[in-house]
């Protein structure tokens, strides 16, 4: 087939998606109409990180008029099967808590009602008895056999452990001039799409079939997981997607457990069920990237040449090992040597379970964690050997001319010229000028650092890489997994117009525009002549397990498949046209909407006429040339299953990135200012420069968030602390500098268009590049993300002397959300009288703020209903109060546990009574911990709230006896100087 000169590809044509999106005409899941009678679901979620569910009482909720169904774990286990788990371990993974909750935000019950308001009202009436269990939060703690086990069947919290060895790492380390090591703790964060999860699920009892419209993004390998969980054959689970979806960044993969849940809810309710995730639900319980503790060692020659790497990765996947995990860990496995020519590698991978939200796909998927360790290590190599970091890159990058290059762990680096790309970046990015700028800043006493990072950016995942988590024997038993089936369909209609269908599930990237360019180029049409449909319907469209919008596969795999499908139909049209033009098919060309004889432009036919022939005059076209609709499936042969030596080519394409930046850290606030950021990419052939710039800028922005702002934070008790955008800080345009984006293009030999992925690379390179610059500015060896001002300032601010003006208060260190305080009040009654009050339910009722009736269980154990609140924030709680360590009438310890819809709190205080004239001086100190919803959304204010509630108690006690808080001292205790 003759190649057609490229016209559209390579141009930043106007995006066909934008006219609708910019005028508010996007059609997202929540914009679409629903069938009459559709019900709405709301989810009751766990406030506890870890607890046994002793009982769930749903009667009151069920009786609310308008409530159609209430489902709990029991209903779900009765109607479905556990989600398949990706490792060989005796554990189940349900989309709802079954007898036990393992993270804050885990679904506990679903209410289906005529509207969402009613459904949320009914949630408040569900009564759950939890028996709290100790939580495991830190991944290193999860390795400790003495800690509580999350999944009893597993016997420990290690869900998977594998060791790998490539080359001869032991010998390389033994012979190395130097061993350089880093230990890093990569935090949890997320891509945070603007549009949250949403779906409408329906069950057809006549056919035992489910039909779900959702903004799920794939991978459609999870279709198999969902169908098996729902206990139907694949053809009885029809998944459809809406025309538009508002971002994903991997995160909308995590919708799939809810597809199972809501399908079951629709089945039980007998009506379609709609559920739109709200932001509180999203931040606490959608999916997060994994947090990881990595120790990485390098065996290094004296000149900085790295001979071997030793990886030890502890991957925290949260409370369940949910499909496709532990994929985050293995996605990068083949390219664990990064952009470097390192032949000896050892790897120890442990996947642990903790009481946090289960993890899943996220932009960068495994890359940020790996490159943070690898590129911190390369900086340390330079520093510890007193070398220029750029020389360390030069000595270790895969040499020019070595491509395709088989890396030690199995990646086949398809193309590139890393050395030339590095040098071009330094020159065109102004590296020498940046060094001069740094020298000037430092001469002025400013904290200025330069950071660099090199990375290979994998794209088009091998669907078999995840099986590297299994041993070769387990893999043989399960059968080989490999490939990356991509598909595209090109159809001609009776007027000769071209329509393209793909299973790429875009979420705003512009797939329709790029496919128009690709197909228009193949067929010699205007790009506006081609129409692309990206809504997917698994009941009607071509798709496979690799379908979906992830692993940066679009340009390389989907764009390539569309190119192949267009060429397939073109070949047939060429034959039909050749017969009419009286030339050989090889002499036919497609140009400007015409099909014509090469060298004789007047001998031409309109494209649309030839394209319509098989509709109107099929009798004129031999059967093999019938051109109506061509579907191509394409999978690259390079994506083989992991070898018996555990070598795995985990991705098809590997782009190259070299970043450098200059940052200044404010000496007063510790704030990081990015002075200059340069990002050099080789992503193969570029189809749409504007969109590539958009992808790089978007990835850079999210990476900046990961570097400086974002962390899904948990307290030591497993309480979730970043449930709103006031605490989970996503950078806004005010915080984002514009990076200088540079390109070198070395086309991939393995993809039809020479393209590679580009959207994820900065999520891998940028966090560590900024951290390297901050470490350089501060002169520190260990630095973990996010680089918050307070964290950095701790390296700048001199040690703080104790306060001079007043006696040192032995302030116990405050850990996590533990709240501590002390106070004093005066009562106009003798210690004996006050003592009797404290032990009397009637008096307690009067003293405890908002108390609605004290039930005395024993002389020292009370139960009550209380309304606690600060300002407008009030909630009703069940309180359980015990008195202990009684020393009448001198001292008593009061312990209270409160539970309610807004959260739970437990606190303990020692109260001392000292005669004070005719009255009593009461002093108290307390320790409290608050969890649940209120900790997730108002962590900043908890301390003050605890103070106020406790003050309310003592103010009431003082008032009850006719006394009062001591002025001055009291005022200072409760909030500064009067």
């Amino acid at each position: 087939m003759a190649t057609t000169a490229t016209t559209w590809c390579g141009q930043s044509v106007e995006r066909v998606e934008d006219a609708a999106l910019l005028t508010g005409r996007g059609r997202y899941i929540d914009d679409l109409g629903v069938k009459p009678g559709t019900l709405h679901a709301a989810i009751l979620r766990s406030q506890h990180a870890h607890a046994r569910i002793a009982a769930i009482r749903t009667d009151a909720a069920t009786q609310v008029p308008g409530v159609a169904a209430v489902l709990t774990g029991r209903d779900v286990t009765a109607l479905s099967a556990s989600l398949v788990v990706g490792v060989k371990a005796p554990i189940e993974c349900w989309p709802i808590a079954v007898d036990r909750v393992r993270y804050v935000g885990e679904p506990v019950a679903i209410v289906v009602a005529t509207d969402r308001y009613l459904a949320e009202d009914a949630l408040d009436l569900i009564d759950v008895d939890y028996e709290p269990l100790p939580a495991v939060v830190d991944p290193n703690d999860a390795l400790d056999p003495a800690r509580p086990v999350l999944h009893d069947g597993l016997g420990s919290n290690i869900a998977s452990e594998r060791s790998f060895r490539y080359g001869d790492p032991e010998r390389a380390f033994a012979e190395a001039a130097k061993r350089v090591s880093v230990t890093i703790r990569y935090p949890r964060n997320s891509g945070t799409p603007i549009e949250t999860y949403g779906l409408i699920a329906e069950y057809d009892p006549g056919e035992d079939a489910y039909d779900v419209l959702s903004n799920f993004m794939g991978p459609f390998s999870l279709h198999a997981v969902m169908a098996r969980a729902l206990k139907v054959s694949g053809n009885r689970l029809r998944l459809r997607t809406p025309p538009d979806s508002g971002g994903s960044f991997g995160v909308k993969q995590g919708l799939f457990p809810y597809i199972v849940l809501m399908s079951l809810a629709a089945r039980v309710a007998g009506k379609p069920v709609k559920w739109i995730e709200d932001r509180l639900e999203h931040l606490s319980a959608s999916v997060s990237a994994t947090n990881r503790v990595t120790t990485l060692d390098a065996a290094v020659d004296a000149d900085g040449r790295v001979r071997a790497l030793a990886w030890d990765q502890v991957e925290d996947v949260g409370a369940h090992i949910r499909a496709p995990e532990p994929a985050t860990l293995y996605r990068m496995h083949g390219n664990l040597t990064g952009a470097y020519d390192i032949r000896h590698v050892s790897v120890r991978n442990r996947v642990v379970l903790t009481n946090k939200t289960p993890t899943g796909l996220n932009r960068g998927f495994g890359g940020p964690q790996v490159y943070y360790a690898l590129e911190r290590l390369m900086q340390r190599v330079a520093i510890e050997l007193d070398l220029d970091p750029i020389d360390v890159f030069r000595r270790n990058l895969v040499p020019s001319g070595a491509f395709p290059y088989r890396a030690a762990c199995g990646a086949l680096l398809d193309s590139g010229d890393y050395m030339r790309t590095l040098e071009t970046a330094l020159t065109d990015g102004g590296f020498a000028e940046l060094r001069a700028r740094q020298a000037k800043a430092r001469a002025e006493g400013r904290l200025y650092g330069i950071g660099c990072a090199a990375a290979v950016e994998p794209s088009v995942s091998n669907m078999g890489y995840i099986t590297a988590a299994l041993t070769p024997a387990e893999r043989r038993k399960a059968g080989p997994k490999n490939g990356a089936q991509a598909t595209a369909t090109v159809a001609l209609d009776p007027l000769g117009a071209v329509t393209v269908h793909v299973a790429s599930v875009p979420q705003g990237q512009g797939h329709r525009t790029v496919l128009s360019q690709v197909v228009a180029d193949a067929l010699g049409l205007k790009f506006s002549d081609v129409r692309v449909v990206t809504e997917l319907d698994t009941g009607r469209d071509a798709w496979s397990i690799a379908s979906g919008n992830y692993s940066s596969r679009f340009a390389a795999a989907v764009g390539g498949a569309a190119h192949l499908a267009a060429n397939k139909i073109k070949g047939k049209l060429a034959k039909t046209a050749a017969a009419q033009l009286n030339v050989s098919p090889d002499d036919v060309e497609f140009v400007g909407g015409k099909i014509r004889a090469r060298g004789n432009p007047d001998n031409a036919l309109p494209f649309s006429r030839v394209a319509a022939t098989s509709h109107w005059s099929p009798g004129l076209v031999p059967e093999e040339n019938q051109a109506l609709r061509e579907t191509v499936f394409w999978t690259p042969p390079q994506l083989t299953p992991p070898s018996d030596d555990d070598e795995v080519n985990s991705s098809l394409c590997y782009g190259f990135i070299f970043d450098f930046c200059g940052v200044e850290i404010d000496r007063v606030t510790g704030a990081v200012r990015i002075d200059k950021y340069v990002t050099m990419h080789d992503c193969g052939r570029i189809l749409h420069p504007g969109m590539v710039a958009g992808q790089v800028t978007g990835g850079f922005t999210q990476a900046l968030g990961a570097a400086l702002y974002e962390e899904y934070a948990y307290g030591p008790d497993g309480s979730f602390l970043t449930g709103t955008f006031a605490d989970y800080l996503v950078p806004t345009p005010m915080e984002i500098p514009e990076p200088l984006i540079l390109h070198v293009e070395t086309p991939s030999p393995f993809t039809p268009l020479g393209t590679k992925g580009v959207g994820e690379g900065n999520c891998m390179s940028t966090p560590v590049c900024i951290a390297n610059a901050a470490a350089d500015a501060l002169g520190v060896a260990a630095i973990d993300l996010p680089l918050t001002p307070a964290k950095l300032a701790a390296h700048i601010h001199a040690a703080e002397p104790a306060p001079r003006s007043r006696p040192t208060v032995a302030a116990a260190p405050i850990k996590g959300r533990a709240l501590r305080g002390s106070g004093e009040a005066h009562a106009d009654a003798s210690p004996d009288a006050v003592w009797r009050m404290l032990l009397d339910p009637k008096t307690l009722e009067a003293l405890i703020p908002g108390c609605h009736g004290v039930e005395k269980l024993s002389d020292t154990h009370f139960r009550a209903e209380v309304t606690l609140g600060v300002g407008p924030v009030t909630g009703r709680y069940k309180a359980d109060i015990t008195l202990s360590d009684l020393d009448p009438p001198n001292a008593v310890t009061l312990t209270g546990i409160v539970t309610g819809a807004l959260g739970d709190g437990r606190g303990s205080g020692r109260i001392r009574l000292v005669p004070d004239g005719a009255g009593t001086r009461l002093t108290y100190e307390y320790d409290a911990a608050i969890g649940g919803k209120v900790a997730s959304i108002a962590g900043r204010l908890l301390d003050g709230a605890a103070k106020i509630v406790i003050r309310q108690f003592f103010t009431a006690l003082a008032r009850h006896t006719g006394g009062g808080g001591k002025s001055g001292f009291f005022a200072r205790l409760f909030g500064g100087r009067a």
């Binding site: 702002y709 605490d727 918050t788 600060v870 300002g871 807004l902 204010l941 106020i948 500064g976």
Partner: protein, 275 residues
Amino acid sequence: MKPARFDYVRAEHLAEVHDVLAENGNDARVIAGGQTLLPMLSMRLARPKVVVDIMHLPQLQTIDADKGTIRIGAGVRQAQLLGWPLLSDRQPLLAAALPWVGHAQTRNRGTICGSLAHADPSAEIPLVLVALGGTIELSSRRGRRRIAADIFFTGMMSTARSEDELIEAAILPARPTGSGYAFQEFGRRHGDFAIAACAAVATDKGTRLAVAGVADRATMHDFAALDGSALDDALDAFAWDLDARDDLHATARYRRELVRRMGRAVIEEARRCRA
């Protein structure tokens, strides 16, 4: 994230607001711009029985400047005040601080008095009122009273307002001649809650520094004419007295350091402005 059921009253007369508050007490909430109350309702942190809307009362929407004071009605939105042409002349401290209140979008809806009612410990508007020695005007069926800002704020999200009272206006002294002002704030992102915000007022009587984001309310101290190491010592004592706490965004020690350094910087700047 849907509110529980509540009644909505769009007040047409001030008396109607007072009636709703008198009859429902703490079960009633006044809504003005709704920038804090609506999220609270949606998250079901607040569950009032009645929400009374005061944004349709023209008499609450005025900014009155006379005889050395500025009176800002309860219906005045932050953006409206920021757009008031006389603001930077009459009260430069407020003009300096207002752009730090949330974002342009929230200022288009949020009101000055709503921020006072909410009494967030990090909020800029209460800070400015405390620094300037402003007052809050409260009204109810029982009558009308004025209360000084530094005793109005009693703690985190807590004020001296009685359940039946409406915050009807905030009253600020206009800038007297020969005074200097300065404002600085540090938060993690533009528009975030302040980790620390400092406002200084220098007059011939002394130099006052008020700090938000550190204690459980905006807190003011008069540093008189102290300077040099005596000022550092006094700032150190003040920083400790604020009883800062650790939270997700910053440590107590970090906050104290900001009070010492930013506090000193704004005091010096306010004095320079005065000179």
